[in-house]
């Protein structure tokens, strides 16, 4: 009897402390975020003190209307979604195919390929040769500059390789006896079994695409190809510009972007991710459930 009771109470205390610590941790994250959220719907007067503000001062949406007053924002939103969805999708499929082959120790030249991959993680030619390359490929000022150069990364490939390696070889062998091709094994056995890993790569890459504005800055001059983050970047740097004009002349007064507007942009770019994220989160949990059902 005693033996049985002990683990249960130990488990109880474990869950108790676990919950407490996680609640404290969540508070540590949430309170500053709440402060940002509240500040973004406050009039600017409340923001200067930097003090503990847990409720909006003079509730107002003026910061948000200011951001959305730019009529090209909805369009930019569209570009962002398009490049995130297409980019993350193609990237994940592309990497998965390569990672599948690289995860097989029987692959001839494997060592050479992977060494090549590792080198790309640490050595690059820098911005100028890359620009010239993108230019000679005719990708400047096209939507595809968001997708094609981002198709592959060896880092993501390594993650997938490690997940693929965990799949029992027996599954593959029995499929082979049934005459399945590599492509079929990859698509029918490996992909369904590594959903959490694929969801992770989609998340990593999708967030990368969503947040990226450097590609736009470097390779895009056409306004209609601007994603949301580029617009946001423009709004934010305007506040730095006004300080630059101090060295200029007296009649050059740009309206500075206020702190409130900056914070509104943070919220605006984060919300879509918070909406999309649970869709992916399902797959993490689905993975756990599936495993549970199968065994």
């Amino acid at each position: 009897m005693e033996l049985k009771k002990k683990p249960r109470s130990e488990g109880y205390w474990f869950y108790f402390f676990n919950t407490i610590i996680l609640i404290l941790f969540s508070l540590l994250i949430v309170v500053p975020i709440w402060n940002i959220l509240v500040s973004s719907v406050s009039s600017n007067a409340g923001l200067a003190s930097g003090g503990l503000m847990l409720w909006p001062k003079d509730f107002t949406f003026q910061n948000y209307t200011k951001v959305f007053s730019d009529s090209s924002i909805p369009k930019a939103f569209g570009i962002s979604i398009l490049k995130t969805v297409i980019g993350a999708g193609t990237h994940t499929v592309f990497c998965a195919i390569v990672a599948y082959a690289l995860s097989k120790s029987r692959l001839i030249g494997r060592k050479f390929y992977t060494t090549m991959g590792v080198i790309t993680m640490y050595f690059g030619g820098g911005m100028i040769p890359t620009y010239l390359l993108i230019k000679s490929l005719g990708l400047l000022d096209t939507f595809w500059v968001y997708i094609i150069p981002a198709l592959f990364s060896y880092y993501d490939c390594v993650i997938l390789m490690n997940f693929f390696r965990e799949i029992p070889a027996s599954l593959e062998e029995s499929a082979k006896i049934d005459g399945a091709s590599e492509w079929k094994i990859f698509a029918d056995i490996y992909l369904p079994l590594t959903k959490p890993a694929l969801a992770t790569i989609i998340l990593f890459n999708g967030v990368g695409q969503w947040n990226d504005f450097m590609t736009t800055k470097l390779y895009i001059t056409k306004q209609y190809l601007y994603p949301l983050q580029m617009k946001i970047y423009e709004i934010i740097v305007q506040s730095n510009l006004s300080s630059m004009t101090q060295s200029g002349s007296t009649d050059v007064i740009f309206k500075a972007t206020t702190r409130g507007v900056q914070l509104a942009t943070i919220v605006i770019t984060t919300v879509p991710i918070l909406i999309i994220y649970p869709l992916l989160q399902k797959h993490f949990i689905a993975g756990m459930m599936e495993g549970a059902v199968k065994e």
Binding site: A45, K66, L218, T221, T245, T250, D251, I253
Partner: protein, 533 residues
């Protein structure tokens, strides 16, 4: 082995590729001619003569993160578009983007740089066409309207001028009084009156008056200043200007203003104010947005302000929020009777515009330059169009129309988008200010205070050693050290701390062979002088 071969092949292939790229940009428009468009006329701007029917597309690169308004949508640029039959597309970026375009052989038509001492500006003759040549070839009228002093100042070692700036203020402009001061020592008027106009002009008075403010207004921070960032804010050259620290030694060689004894004694006074808790630490870390808000609320009783014009919005807001306002008064001054030598944008101007060698229609771009530099273009880009944005009043001065003013106040974004007044300012300058009917604003009193206190700093403009040289590296390190030293001096805990910080700065100068750098600076000042006369 395989790896090596691959690598070599790649390198060879791309070297070939880049070599091709660089070959392209020499002499790209040798077959360009204006023969069937117009004949040159020294007395008439070429844009009035040009019979070119097709709209010219002009790409305009600005070497900064900049949001230009779309061209041709507002009243101002629509007029330019109509007059010249052009379309302008703006691109922005930084040095590496500019270099990528230079080495990729796809230069835009116009390049606007922010810094006259940058390598791009100093080697402009390798990628830009000289304005002297272009004027001769396409638009001799340009020579009539371009400012001669500015042209001379911007000439490179080959004697030709490649870039033309905005806001280039010549000696004549300084003397004419049309350019207002841009640095001020300001105080809240209610505080000033309540304390019976205290004195801030001597170190002792400064320290005493701040204490008096704290005693009477415990809720206010007695002394504030525009943001410091990782520099020294208004506490180096701006403060030195108020104290009238000489720009050069009597013999014309470099004078280290940062070690001027009077300046150092003022830093001591600031340090005393800090130790009296009349300067707070947060003022050193606040960023622009926070500082703006503090000014709008009037948190600071007294402020040393670098860039008065940038504060116009804040002062106006404060005036609206309170029954009082900030006014300029005499602040830190020389104890030995030196006159203040405040500075403003100098002859080097602010933005510098170049026409690249790759310009597809250099004649058209030159016409645009002339158009914008000429007086009608200046008035257009600064004030808009007569009857649409402004009218001439009885005294013959420009006055904005009431609906324009109303829109500016009610919806600044819409105002910018509709009229574009003073937004297309790449060639603007303060000379045109004289045309405008005087208007009362939050800045008027401050600018009034500064009348007669400006003094040209041309001789020490852009004298730092040429970028990329060892001297330039040392110079930059000294600047970095100077910034941290000045702020550390103000924040020193006691006299010992103050003295040891100062002496470690002196020894840092020695370590970095400052005396050698000074020789370079003196040499550069000599060059400046030759361009000024």
């Amino acid at each position: 082995m395989k790896k090596l071969i691959y690598g070599l092949a790649a390198i060879v292939a791309t070297l070939g590729l880049s070599a091709c790229g660089s070959n392209k940009d020499s002499g790209s428009n040798s077959d360009f001619s204006i023969k069937d468009r117009y004949t040159l006329n020294a007395n008439k701007p070429a844009w009035k003569l040009d019979k070119k029917k097709k709209t010219t597309d002009i790409t305009w690169y600005i070497n900064s993160d900049w949001t230009a308004l779309p061209f041709g949508k507002d009243v101002t640029t629509a007029q330019i578009k109509k007059d010249l039959n052009i379309n302008v597309k703006f691109i922005t970026g930084d040095d590496s983007k500019l270099n990528a375009m230079i080495s990729g052989g796809d230069m835009p038509d116009i390049v606007t740089l922010m810094d006259k001492t940058s390598q791009a500006a100093e080697k402009a003759n390798s990628w830009a066409s000289s304005l002297n040549d272009l004027a001769k070839k396409y638009d001799p009228y340009f020579t009539k309207v371009a400012n001669k002093d500015t042209m001379k100042w911007f000439s490179l070692s080959d004697g030709k001028t490649y870039g033309y700036p905005n806001y280039s203020n010549t000696k004549k402009d300084y003397e004419s009084g049309t350019i207002p001061v841009n640095d001020n020592f300001v105080i809240r008027e209610d505080v000033y009156d309540a304390l019976g106009k205290p004195d801030f002009t001597t170190p002792e008075g400064f320290v005493k008056s701040l204490n008096a403010i704290k005693a009477k207004y415990p809720d206010l921070t007695p002394f504030g200043f525009t943001t410091v960032g990782d520099g020294a804010g208004p506490f180096t050259d701006k403060l030195q200007d108020f104290l009238g620290v000489p720009l050069e030694k009597k013999n014309g060689s470099f004078y280290d203003r940062n070690l001027d004894p009077e300046y150092v004694s003022w830093l001591k006074a600031l340090n005393q104010a800090y130790r009296d808790k009349n300067i707070v630490d947060d003022s050193f870390t606040d960023d622009g947005a926070t500082y703006d808000q503090k000014v709008k609320q009037g948190d600071y009783a007294v402020m040393l302000v670098a860039g008065t014009s940038g504060q116009g919005g804040n002062y106006t807001d404060f005036m609206k929020n309170s029954k009082t306002r900030y006014i300029a008064i005499d602040g830190p001054s020389s104890t030995s009777g030196r006159k203040a030598t405040l500075s403003q944008t100098g002859i080097s101007g602010w933005l510098i515009n170049y026409i690249t060698k790759d310009a597809k229609d250099p004649a058209k771009v030159m016409e645009l330059f002339t158009y914008l530099i000429d007086k009608p273009g200046q008035i257009l880009t600064k004030y808009g169009i007569e009857g649409v944005t402004y009218k001439y009043n009885d005294a013959g001065k420009i006055e904005y129309l009431p609906e324009v003013k109303a829109l500016e106040k009610s919806d600044n974004d819409a105002y910018n988008k509709k009229y574009g007044i003073s937004r297309f300012n790449y060639f603007n300058n303060d000379r045109m200010n004289a045309l405008k009917a005087p208007e009362e604003s939050a800045l008027t009193q401050m600018q009034q205070w500064g009348k007669g206190k400006l003094y040209p700093h041309f001789v020490i403009e852009n004298i730092k050693p040429q970028a990329g040289t060892p001297a330039a590296r040392s110079y930059d390190q000294v600047q970095t050290k100077l910034n941290s030293t000045v702020i550390s001096l103000i924040r020193a805990k006691d006299d010992n701390g103050f003295d040891s910080t100062l002496s470690s700065y002196r020894s840092f100068l020695k370590q970095n062979k400052w005396s050698d750098i000074e020789k370079t600076l003196t040499k550069n000042m000599k060059e400046n002088r030759s361009k000024l006369n």
